[in-house]
């Protein structure tokens, strides 16, 4: 009898576990379809529901809050979609919330998306009718994508040209890729550094020199700092000024004289401007030349003439 009881216990366990699993499964499925929680019924009128069916999910702000209860045609251009929404989502759905038909993923089930309205509006009531948005149609999207694709094609071909240009041997890229250039740049920078160091030294020296000058050391310093010298210089400058004034007067006179000369005034002017005179002068010179040549000949003859021969011989020695 004890064994019989034990068997019955195990049998009871078996049956209870089995049925409770079934009940649990029903509960879980039911809770997914919001059958056992408090619900509100709302509806929305769509122009096109894109294959929405009874049982599809309703999402508010991306969270499943209910299911589609029915989809009915109410006129030639509108479809009434009745939705069952969990009561706990009701306060957050405002009367100006917008319902739209969406897709779960790219190829997934259709669903109703409810976007949250503005805070100011009151929450929906039972049997509220939501505003709707035209659903995004896949083929329309693909059409737009087609245009985008074409644009991308043009852009990518342009990009290709640009990159080709960049990759070209005689391009900036080459310069960028050339290690020698980099080396040179590095060397230049090092040189610059050395130079600037030298510059620092030089400036230091300069500062010293300037300091010395300020203090009246050295000739330049003396020159700058000595006040008597400066007055002397000023006097000299004044004298120079006077001198240059006189020079200006002289130049003016000279100008005048030259003008006169040009016009053939005075003896010198006649001399300069008279072409006949020049011709005559030329002629005289010519004659002189001939005369001189003759004289030379006479002198040569004289060398060999008797009274002077001795003299020349002695001179030779």
């Amino acid at each position: 009898m004890k064994g019989e009881n034990f068997k019955n216990t195990r049998l009871g366990l078996f049956v209870i576990v089995g049925t409770s699993l079934l009940i649990a499964a029903f509960y879980f499925i039911g809770s997914k379809q919001s059958l056992f929680s408090d619900t509100v019924t709302i509806s929305a009128r769509f122009h096109n529901v894109n294959g929405l069916m009874k049982g599809n999910n309703v999402r508010f702000a991306g969270i499943d809050v209910g299911t589609v209860e029915s989809v009915d045609i109410i006129s030639d251009s509108s479809v009434n979609v009745v939705m069952i929404i969990e009561k706990k989502a009701q306060p957050y759905i405002k009367t100006n919330a917008i319902a739209s038909i969406g897709t779960d993923g790219l190829m997934g089930n259709k669903l109703v998306n409810i976007n949250s309205g503005t805070n100011a509006a009151p929450s929906i009531e039972e049997d509220a009718i939501l505003q709707t948005l035209r659903p995004i149609e896949m083929d329309e999207m693909i059409r737009t994508l087609n245009v985008t694709n074409e644009n991308i094609m043009v852009i990518s071909s342009n990009l290709r040209t640009i990159t080709d240009k960049i990759n070209n041997k005689n391009s900036l890229w080459n310069i960028l890729m050339d290690t020698m250039v980099a080396e040179n740049v590095k060397t230049s920078i090092v040189n610059l550094k050395i130079m600037s160091n030298a510059g620092v030294l030089v400036t230091g020296d300069l500062r010293n020199i300037l300091g010395d000058i300020k203090n009246g050391k050295g000739s330049l310093g003396a020159l700058i700092t000595d006040t008597t010298l400066s007055s002397k210089i000023r006097q000299t400058v004044v004298k120079f000024e006077k001198l240059s004034d006189t020079a200006a007067v002289i130049t003016g006179d000279l100008n005048h004289v030259i003008k006169g000369l040009k016009q053939g005034k005075g003896t010198v002017g006649v001399l300069l401007n008279d072409t006949m005179l020049i011709h005559n002068l030329n002629k005289s010179v010519e004659t002189l030349k001939v005369g001189a040549g003759n004289f030379n000949e006479n002198m040569e003859a004289l060398k060999y003439s008797w009274p002077f021969k001795k003299y020349y011989k002695r001179k030779k020695k």
Binding site: E4, K7, N8, R10, L11, F14, V15, V17, G18, T19, L21, L22, A25, F26, F28, I29, G30, S31, K32, Q33, G55
Partner: protein, 255 residues
């Protein structure tokens, strides 16, 4: 000879139907054999549980691993729990459980009743005033009808757990996410028809086993034959009923 085969087949079909009718007539009349019913429940239901659980676990695991490559091909790896849960709950767990039970229970009942018949214990019962049909047949058919659905529910659970492990061999699906996805996918239209049809599976297995055992003859050789044909016919019936069930579900638009 062909005529003979057909006649025999029709004869047997008629006999089985009459046998089932007799069950309905006698099982619901008072003087219920509660003790025997519970004893059979223990042997048929509880004792089959380990076998059913192991089979279901392996089926869940294997189906998940086998489905993965195809889903990966579509980049729909995340759909693995959904797909596996639907195929397991709707079809695989009920049918596998029913087949296992057809093997275990059908042959058990067939052999038990067959040997009782051959050793004339059934006749002795009738003489002693006990209704053997009520005591032996009705309780067993009732038991099979009621325990197989429970076994199927347990098998669903165990096979889904196997699916969870299978999904986690290659991929990573958290415990919560897995069950969320499973119950997200499953609808009453998946669970209720699949549980309902298992009552018919159970009834068919019990009826065929009892019929074959109850009508066994030709001595000890007949016991083996009745056990064998009980398994064969009930397995076949499970598939035929499954076919019928899927057509009815389809007609009722519950798919």
């Amino acid at each position: 000879m062909k005529q003979g085969v057909l006649m025999r087949f029709l004869n047997e079909t008629g006999d089985i139907t009459r046998f089932a009718g007799r069950f309905f007539k006698e099982a619901f009349k008072p003087r219920y054999e509660i003790g025997e019913f519970l004893r059979q429940c223990f042997f048929i239901g509880y004792k089959s549980l380990p076998l059913v659980a192991i089979t279901a676990f392996i089926m869940g695991l294997v189906i998940t691993i086998q489905s993965r490559p195809t889903l990966v091909e579509f980049g729909a790896e995340a759909w693995l729990p959904k797909m596996v849960s639907v195929s397991l709950v709707r079809e695989i767990a009920p049918v596998i459980t029913a087949l296992i039970c057809a093997g275990k229970i059908g042959s058990g009942i067939g052999a038990e009743l067959g040997s009782m018949k051959v050793t004339e214990q059934i006749d002795a019962m009738e003489v002693s005033g006990t209704n053997p049909f009520k005591y032996l047949v009705a309780t067993r058919i009732m038991t099979a009808t009621l325990t197989i659905p429970i076994l199927v529910v347990l098998a669903d659970a165990v096979s889904l757990y196997g699916g969870y492990l299978g999904a986690n061999i290659r991929g990573v699906v958290s415990w919560d996410l897995y069950w969320n996805q499973v119950f997200d996918t499953l609808a009453f239209s998946d669970v209720i028809p699949s549980i309902l049809k298992t009552f018919f599976f159970g009834f068919a297995i019990g009826t065929i086993g009892c019929y074959k055992g109850y009508n066994s003859n030709k001595g000890t050789e007949g016991v083996g034959r009745s056990a064998n044909s009980a398994v064969v016919i009930s397995s076949l019936l499970v598939f035929i009923l499954d076919l019928l069930a899927v057509q009815i579900i389809d007609l009722l638009n519950l798919t």
